[in-house]
Amino acid sequence: MVGQDVLFAAQIVDRHGGQASLALRSGSCLAITGASGSGKSTLLRRLADLDPYEGQIHLAGREARTYAPCKWRSSVVYCPAEPAWWAETVAAHFVEYPGDLADRLGLSPDLAGRTAERCSTGERQRLALLRALSRKPAVLLLDEPTAALDPESTAKVEGLLRDNLTAGLGIILVTHDSALADRLGDCRLVLTAAGLQPA
């Protein structure tokens, strides 16, 4: 169910000096494509307030800078293309390891006790998605979430994302995969030197 605007970004200056504006509704997915180096990941980093930016970002009508930084980033969670790990075991990256969801994504139960380095790239990508979802964000910023996945795993990830969209999550999806953007995106934009344009 598509709801009201949850995230609104106005005139975010991109890496080329252009400006990007967007509005995301709860329960909807905004898919952004664009050439490599066009600044898609930079835009996501700015929306997550990981880099300084010019312009305005609002969540549920409140300006980003009025939120405590940790509150903002647990509400607008960025899941980068190459997720990083810091704890001894996979499970230690979660408050509570979501075994049932891991199973749904085709992840073996013994992954929880492994170090992240011993997981495959595809396993790490799905674990990073679960890690981000476990924070129960209002908005999820996904950077190439299925780049390392086979078609079967991609379908499982899509299924999980659809369920979360239905539950009201807003997703901004950055991808080079046009088919994925078509399947998941309620709205498609392309990032160029001139800024965000309708695809």
Binding site: A48, L50, S75
Partner: protein
Amino acid sequence: MTPISLTPFDLAAASLLIVVDGLLSVVLGLGLHKQIVVAASRMVIQLLLVGYILKSVFALASPALTLAVLVVMALSAAREVAVRPERRLSRGGNLLIGTISVFVATSLTSMLALLTAIRPEPILDARYVIPLTGIIMGSVLNAASLSMDSLLDAAVQRAAAIEAQLCLGIRFKTAMGPLLRQALRRGMVPIINQMAAAGLVTLPGTMTGQILAGLDPVEAVKYQILLMFLLGGSSGIAALVTTLLTMRWLTDDRERLRLDRLKSHK
């Protein structure tokens, strides 16, 4: 017991050992002979210069002059703290943090020793204050530079892991916690090792100097114990102040990891 006065001939005889080092370098092709000659020459000139300066400062007994010498020493130590780490903070961050660390750690521990254990009259008696502060500064600059080097390097090496935590709403100070503890350990381990080895593996320099100068060994040991406590304390304070300030420099009011505040790696 009066100290045995050294003649230039005595020093020249000992300097033959440096000549042996140089010959070894030439024979074995180590390429160190030029560095050995320069380092040894610098050491002789610097120490002679300091000896004569200290002699004049002691003779003048001026608190203002003593303070001026201390400030010059502290600024030199701060510069060493700034240049030793492999990475540099922009806007003179290394130097500013080094200066604050050296001043805070040295003044706190020196004042403690001067007001409680040594209590010279007057309190700024150059004969006590300058050597005491100097030896503390040596330890402070080691601890501060090692902990700064460790934190800056770890922040770069583990930037992705730190940001992965920030992305999930984890606070910057929590994400940096392991790096902070590692930097503190790196800053403090040398003095802990020095304390543990004192008397067993090595006879510390101050104690050796005092015994050679004619002081009773037990009295020399007491001074050495006092100094070890001061060095341990000052190292801990220097490492703590340095890591906290360096961590603060690497973030902003939005708790981002600001690696753009590091100059490009040399």
